[in-house]
């Protein structure tokens, strides 16, 4: 057992951090001002570094790396609140293609995702949050609405969930047979209402029910989001402690007030507990003996902790900063907004509790080790 990164993983972290250098609140604000809500140049640089093909096999243009490498990247992106949609596009959308696609589909799309020429997005959520919102017509086309589709208007390729099956739809086909309406999300990024109107679609894989795989890849995305959130929380705490030691009121720095330093200590406690459980979830995912059910459970547990800690740390970071924490000019507000968005993507803490409750009597104690 070892919770630490090896030298190569550490080198990857350093490289990504180097690439993201200078990503501060001001840069994020400028970048997210305009569509597509992230920096296309940075996306290309991430592609050139091999980051966008990290989890895919080498024979389809990826780098064949494992969950730990994915975690490392997500965490570095989180540390600077980078708006680039790594988890959404690479882990979730690309992950579905890698898990469910035919050999030709993988060949065609994963290489293009890896080199940054194709941005995929997953369309899974119906506007009212219930049901799937999209149906498969007799001729194999799709009709209905998905919303919010993260990066839905910018995406070149959509992976659409309908009737338990998955479909590949090109962005261009949606534009000619349907529509995409883009808008800002709560964290300043972009999502879209995507309307399908007899839109041509290709089944992903053999066209069979993919619910099982969808659940597993969603779990893997939840785990990756956990690492992004960890990076966000880590920075939120760092900014808060540094603010407390520099901001002066009543002639003294704020860390003179124990009422505030104890709250920072509580934030640290939340952060470290989260680090443990999120890292554990990635270790479960990376362990060859883990069944898909085990991975899903680890993802629920990780996201539950992330939901609670994200709220705690996000809210306290703003509060301990006072007014400055409320502004777009300063980083903690962006962090809290992003944590809020992650919390409500693929289920929040309450959903995780509900999911875990169904298997409560399957075990006596919770045993973290295989």
């Amino acid at each position: 057992m070892d919770f630490l990164l090896d030298d190569e993983q550490q080198a990857l972290a350093d490289a990504v951090r180097g690439l993201l250098k200078g990503y501060d609140a001001e840069k994020r604000r400028t970048v997210t001002e305009d569509d597509p809500g992230f920096d296309e140049e940075m996306w290309k640089k991430l592609a050139d570094m091999g980051v966008l093909g990290l989890p895919y096999p080498e024979d389809v243009g990826g780098s064949g790396a494992g969950p730990v490498e994915v975690a490392v990247v997500a965490e570095e992106l989180g540390k600077v609140t980078a708006p680039e949609p790594f988890v959404e596009a690479v882990v979730f959308a690309g992950g579905l293609i890698a898990a469910c696609g035919t050999a030709e589909q993988k060949q065609e799309h994963l290489a293009a995702i890896s080199d940054g020429s194709v941005l995929p997005a997953v369309a899974w959520h119906a506007p009212d949050g219930s049901g799937e919102g999209v149906t498969v017509n007799d001729d194999g086309t799709l009709s209905g609405t998905k919303e919010p589709v993260l990066n839905g208007a910018r995406a070149d390729l959509l992976v659409v969930l309908a009737g338990g099956r998955l479909f590949l739809v090109s962005g261009a086909d949606v534009d000619s047979h349907g529509s995409r309406t883009s808008y800002r999300t709560v964290d300043g990024l972009r999502a879209a209402e995507v309307v399908f109107d007899q839109t041509p679609a290709t089944p992903l894989g053999d066209g069979s029910d993919m619910s099982e795989s969808f659940r597993t890849i969603a779990a893997i995305a939840r785990i990756a989001y956990g690492h992004e959130a960890l990076g966000l929380m880590d920075t939120a705490l760092r900014l808060t402690t540094s603010y407390l030691t520099t901001r002066k009121q009543f002639g003294v720095t704020l860390n003179t007030f124990q009422a505030l330093t104890f709250r920072a200590a509580d934030m640290y406690t939340s952060l470290e507990l989260t680090r443990s459980i999120v890292t554990w979830a990635t270790m479960v995912l990376a362990d060859s003996s883990s069944t898909p059910a085990k991975v899903r459970e680890a993802a629920f547990r990780s996201k539950l902790q992330v939901s609670k800690a994200g709220r705690h740390i996000g809210q306290e970071a703003i509060q301990l900063h006072g007014g400055i924490g409320m502004t777009m000019e300063y980083a903690v507000g962006h962090i809290t907004a992003r944590l809020t968005a992650i919390d409500h993507t693929l289920g929040d803490g309450r959903d995780m509790v509900a999911a875990l409750s169904t298997s409560l009597t399957d075990h006596g104690v919770v045993e973290p080790l295989p």
Partner: protein, 388 residues
Amino acid sequence: MKLSLTEEEQAFREEMRTFFTTKIPKELRERGATEEGESFKDAVVTTQRILNEAGYAVPNWPTEWGGQDWTPLQKHIWHEEMQLANVIPPLAFNANMIGPVIANFGSEEMKEKFLAKTANMDIWWCQGFSEPNAGSDLASLTTKAVKDGDDWVINGQKTWTTLGQYADWIFCLCRTDPEVKKQAGISMILIPMDAEGVTLRPIQLIDGGHEVNEVFFEDVRVPAENLVGEENQGWTYAKFLLGNERVGVAPVGATKRNLALVKETAAAGSSDGGIDDPLLAARIVELENELLALELTALRVVANSTDGKPHPASSVLKLKGTELQQAVSELAVDVYGTSSLASGARDTGVPLAAALAGPTYLNLRKASIYGGSNEVQRQIIAGTILGL
């Protein structure tokens, strides 16, 4: 002890309810929470003018200046019914802050010049207290006012000036004597926003909205008569004003209303979270109960305060009131779930209430920061009430 309202009080409540729900047009009561710009300004001004015409804009002022001879309980009923009907409340800077200060401490000329216009929103006021280095420690403010002949000359900077972009005038705390103890060298001065040397810079908040500003003063000249009350007495007036600010700051009625709306959405089950989820139901029940306790505390405070002095428990109202306001906004985001990400969605499949839930939650983080942060409230409770 007696639970029920008297017949007169019940009649009063009915009168308020009828007025708010029939005399304030529906469009004015159904504005989106994050609206801004001219239409927002118009809505605020129009609403307050309707209220003012009926004598309901500034009931807390002295009667000779448009106030009402109401009991504290009647004032409370007025405030609650207004919130339950989703009426835009009278602008706090006018009705709760500078109006009462001028009425209590201003010269007769100042009262004549400002009070009627302030009640009627012919003047939109903003509050120039906080500075970059004077937040919780307000008394350390450094914006300077120097007497030059018959004028005050003002130099310095204010920040977090809420709705300053719409304001005609700003009431400012300025340092007029740097030699004495910091609280003893502060004066309150009234400055027109269009005076030469005043500039305003918008600050964007994390919900994307523009509601606060920085205001800069460079050799701004105003006549000596713009001083409120006496020179170097500004801190006394500010404390009086902040006392008023904190009383109205626990929006029990509005929070109750919002919770009921969230419950309705959850009951309709048209979102990621339905009320049949026991976890969600439990949270709603607990919030309802906490709000009940808060409302009863507010009632207990008004029922037993006859001398006009704030009841010691009123700090509890700000502290708990803002916590519950925030908790309900958090619940709304949870009920809308993934749809709440769609903050910019308009006229798509995502309902407007879902789109606004996230920005509202983020925006309301402010409630525990301004008007005396919740840490400051705890200090008041610990120090003033518990003697610790």
